[in-house]
């Protein structure tokens, strides 16, 4: 390949990548400018800039409450999934490796059954009766557990496979450790980082969940996404400030996860 050709090729690739970046950036940039514009209607550019929308947002008690409730539901769902999925994975991979095939089918279910479909059944089953949960955060925690399951299961499985679980457990037991000691002293510490990454990424997509929250609970236990949707008729600048605040929060989480991930590979 001649030099001229390779520079033109590299120019092409650079432009494609920058274009991709711009496409992805545009809606965010637009929202960001809108969120700091004092007013912007029927013109290409806004007339002035201000931070008053952020001020207004972060002093709105309803927003703060929704933010807190979102945090609470997501954290609870993730704690639940760690407590349930870790022993599950351990048992499956150490005692019943054949169950892994079954699990791989089960974790496809949350993919194949969109939240809107589950909601139909959930509303009818738990709208009344002994397991009445609709309208409470409990049903959200349970649903978010199923949403996070496939991702968590896969992520931790990959980690387990990387550490050669069986040999480590065998070695620890021959050195006198009980199954529990081996699991806690040897296996768990080696999963910690992978688990953190999986948790952060799961958190960032649970935090943006809208379907279950809106259909099953709505305003009775308002999460951030539902609050955002309910604010649709208020000022667009206000909702933009909300969108940007939400995105920055998720951005920090994913950034930490990427950072941890990189650290791990070294």
């Amino acid at each position: 390949m001649s030099r001229a050709e390779s520079t033109s090729a590299s120019l092409y690739h650079r432009s494609v990548v920058w274009l991709l970046f711009l496409i992805l950036l545009l809606p965010l940039l637009g929202t960001f400018i809108y969120s700091i514009a004092s007013s912007w209607s029927a013109t290409v550019l806004p007339s002035g800039f201000t931070f008053k929308w952020y001020d207004q947002l972060w002093s709105d008690p309803r927003f703060l409450k929704a933010f807190g409730q979102s945090l609470l539901v997501c954290v609870a769902a993730l704690v639940l999934s760690v407590v349930l999925i870790l022993p599950l994975l351990f048992v499956v991979h150490y005692h019943f490796p054949k169950l892994d095939a079954l699990m791989n089918i089960l974790i496809l279910l949350p993919f194949a059954v969109p939240p809107v479909v589950s909601s139909v059944g959930l509303l009818q089953l738990y709208g009344s009766g002994p397991l009445q949960m609709v309208g409470t955060p409990w049903i959200l925690i349970g649903c978010y557990f199923t949403v996070a399951l496939p991702f968590m299961y896969r992520a931790i499985t990959n980690n387990l496979q990387a550490i050669n679980l069986r040999d480590l457990m065998d070695a620890a037991q021959l050195l006198g450790a009980s199954t529990w000691q081996a699991a806690f002293l040897v296996v768990l510490p080696n999963l910690r980082k992978g688990l953190m990454v999986a948790l952060l990424l799961s958190f960032s997509f649970l935090f943006g969940e809208f379907v279950f929250a809106n259909i099953l609970v709505g305003t009775r236990y308002e999460t951030l996404q539902v609050f955002l949707n309910n604010m649709r008729n208020s000022s667009g600048h206000f909702t933009s400030a909300l969108v940007i605040s939400y995105f920055l929060f998720v951005l920090v989480l994913t950034w930490v996860a990427t950072f941890l991930n990189k650290d791990k590979s070294q």
Partner: protein
């Protein structure tokens, strides 16, 4: 009086027997090798002795006590794995100390013993490193130190050298043997590499398809293979059926015959009865493929001087020392 004895041991996986009646005895301080192709049951036998795989029936006596009902934690057996199985979250020192920590050995005592163990494998300078900062050979030495530090009654080595490259493998096998002799530690070593087995062991158990085919020291196994499998697995025996052997030896033979390539001789003097088909130079040995009376044989000859090499197509006389012929089942 044997220190370890395995009696009528049985194991099957979901109906398929791995072995159905294994018996063997090992003396105190002995270094024995379980040798065999993959799938012969040698690793399963080792894992049964360690207690990592439950047995279906039979006894395993260690120092007179049946250890089958004893959990692996309490058997007092050390084991080194092919994959090293070092705990990646712990330093070399912490890895080696793990067994002592489980026994609740006091910190200063533990510290001393860890240092001794690391001294034994010449890795004192690496105490603070993590496994991923070590080479394969170093990892395996740490694993060895880790299994020795608890002073096990029996040491099991499951293909510990297979993942290493040739030079390190040779060095490490000498080191393992030296340490084993020094400590007088009864050791069972599993490998599929006949050279490793011959070089290292006091005694070899040759296994095939869940049976111990032959046992004995290196010389016995090498010079007197018990059957065709043993002859095929150890050395590069020329294995001839009765009919072919009769044709070659020009006398009636009633069983299969195994002939070691280095017991055959070639010369250009005398009446030539064969022809050289091809040759390859293996360093100190020249390996010829020769055809004699329609029978193809491998002949190994020492490579003494450049003039020793016969060209392909050369007609030669083959000499056979009939005392080295082995009749095999």
């Amino acid at each position: 009086m044997s220190f370890v004895s395995v009696e009528h041991l049985q194991k099957s996986y979901s109906g398929t027997p791995v072995f159905s009646d294994i018996n063997c005895n090992i003396a105190k301080g002995e270094f024995v090798t379980l040798l065999g192709p993959s799938g012969c049951g040698k690793s399963t036998l080792l894992r049964c002795i360690a207690g990592l795989t439950p047995v279906d029936a039979g006894k395993i006596l260690l120092d007179g006590q049946d250890i089958v009902p004893v959990s692996p934690q309490k058997r007092g057996i050390g084991m080194v794995f092919q994959s090293y199985a070092l705990f990646p979250n712990m330093t070399v020192e912490q890895n080696v100390a793990f067994g002592l920590r489980m026994q609740k050995v006091k910190a200063d005592d533990s510290h001393k013993r860890v240092a001794e163990a690391l001294q034994l494998v010449e890795l004192n300078d690496f105490a603070k490193r993590y496994p991923h900062q070590l080479s394969g050979g170093q990892c395996q030495r740490v694993a060895l130190a880790r299994s020795l530090v608890t002073r096990p009654r029996l040491l099991l080595l499951d293909e510990p050298l297979s993942a290493l490259d040739a030079r390190i493998r040779k060095h490490l096998r000498e080191q393992i043997r030296t340490i084993q002799r020094e400590l007088g530690l009864t050791t069972i070593f599993v490998t599929h590499d006949q050279e490793e087995a011959l070089v290292m062991s006091d005694r070899i158990f040759l296994m095939n398809k869940g049976h111990i085919v032959q046992s004995g020291n290196a010389q016995t196994l090498y010079a007197a293979p018990a059957d065709a499998f043993a002859a095929g697995f150890i050395g590069n025996y020329n294995l001839l059926d009765a009919q072919t052997a009769s044709r070659l030896l020009q006398r009636p033979v009633s069983s299969r015959i195994a002939i070691r390539p280095e017991t055959l001789g070639l010369s250009v003097q005398g009446e030539p009865d064969g022809v050289i088909l091809s040759h390859s130079l293996l360093g100190n040995v020249i390996r010829y493929r020769v055809e004699v009376r329609g029978v193809q044989l491998i002949v190994d000859v020492l490579n003494r001087a450049p003039g020793d090499l016969y060209p392909d197509g050369q007609r030669v006389a083959l000499s056979i020392d009939s005392s080295t012929l082995c009749e095999v089942a």
